[in-house]
Symmetry: C2
Subunit: 233 residues, 2 copies
């Protein structure tokens, strides 16, 4: 019984990787770099995107917004005059808890790939399943809010291991929490040694310039070279 279950999961992931490669080829053809943007619910992905999506020097940004239901985040971003496409996972019971390559593929015809340089795919808020499904991205960025505690890298290691950049958000709340930043960083390095990390606050703007520069480098590099290339499917 257990062996059967594992086999099914692996087949599903194989199929996912095949479709992710097809997505990747289409993104390459259009010269678009792609970020898969992940976190727990409420860690601040949309607020961080609001900070940078409009003004990446020399880089035209588009957003693919993944939610179980609704379009609240997409509406927030559309007000910045950035092209936003909404992808809802709710047709199945309860809605899928992650985006997969096929869902992203189904959205490709709606994406203005010829008019953007960098596509940010905002995944469903979840620290487990999104890390299992590549969608054809160049790099994966995760947001960890310090309100979630120091032990999150140890409890959700796949997510923290799967990403090329960790944004440690809500750093403005540090004086008000019993949060030990050194302990968090120690835990982070124990699951993904040396992974790039930036302390940020979507509220105060701390660290946002550094993140903006990271994204701008990524969006400006010609397809097939430089940052993130090693992270390809």
């Amino acid at each position: 019984m257990h062996r059967t279950k594992v086999r099914i999961v692996e087949e599903a992931l194989d199929a996912n990787n095949t479709i992710a490669q097809a997505n990747r080829a289409d993104f390459d053809r259009a010269g678009v770099r792609v970020v898969n943007f992940m976190s727990a619910p409420g860690a601040g992905k949309t607020a961080l995107l609001e900070r940078v999506a409009r003004d990446l020097p020399g880089v035209r940004v588009g957003v693919l917004e993944g939610d179980v239901q609704g379009s609240m985040d997409a509406d927030r971003l559309a007000s910045l005059h950035v092209p936003v496409t909404q992808l809802n996972t709710d047709p199945s019971f309860g809605g899928e808890c992650h985006l997969d390559a096929n869902m992203v593929r189904s959205a490709l015809p709606e994406l203005p790939l010829d008019d953007i340089d960098l596509l940010v795919i905002e995944n469903v808020g979840n620290l487990v399943c999104p890390a299992e499904f590549r969608v054809g991205e160049d790099a994966r960025i995760m947001v960890s809010s310090i309100t979630e505690g120091e032990e999150k890298p140890l409890k959700y290691p796949l997510m923290f291991r799967a990403c090329e950049l960790v944004l440690i958000n809500k750093i403005d709340l540090l004086p008000h929490l019993d949060f030990d930043l050194d302990k968090f960083l120690y835990n982070l390095d124990s699951v993904n040694p040396g992974v790039e990390r930036i302390l940020v606050s979507a509220k105060t703007g701390e660290g946002v310039d550094e993140w903006r520069a990271w994204l701008a480098r990524m969006g400006a590099v010609p397809t097939g070279a430089g940052a993130g290339a090693e992270a390809r499917v």
Copy 2:
């Protein structure tokens, strides 16, 4: 393709409900009331349990601790000298993002059902899938941290609709956040009108007495009557 997918999900949920009923019968036979305790990662489930598990008047508490990996939360609770059983979901790729009835069933032989009155099942931190799987509980309690924002009920409606009590946690941080409590409560009532809610802080203890009383009432009521009975599988 789409129709096939929905059918599979429904079959899985039917099987789950069958097993949940078997769990329910075993809990009833032992005279144990059961709470399914859910939230996003880092909302404070374990910290809240630490506040109440040891001193529910007249009620002996046991905990079944669900995690993708590790036993950090179980270790925290065991130090309170409360019986704790660990259930890890990580044998499959990446680990399951929720507990289901069969996972709980597999843990039944390890649970000291004859020595407890109330079993709290701490689910995997996730606002999507845990809401889809009944495990044989009497009631579902969810924790929503105010750091996650006001719009969470609208973005994860199934979770907020599935529970009999909402603990609104980290209320001590209210002065430091741009969080509109009235807006959150309005959103909550729009998906689950009138659901019981308690403002709590695991840090300061605010609201903890009220939650303790809620749990004590539940654990003290003879099986088959009173609070939570209407919520049965």
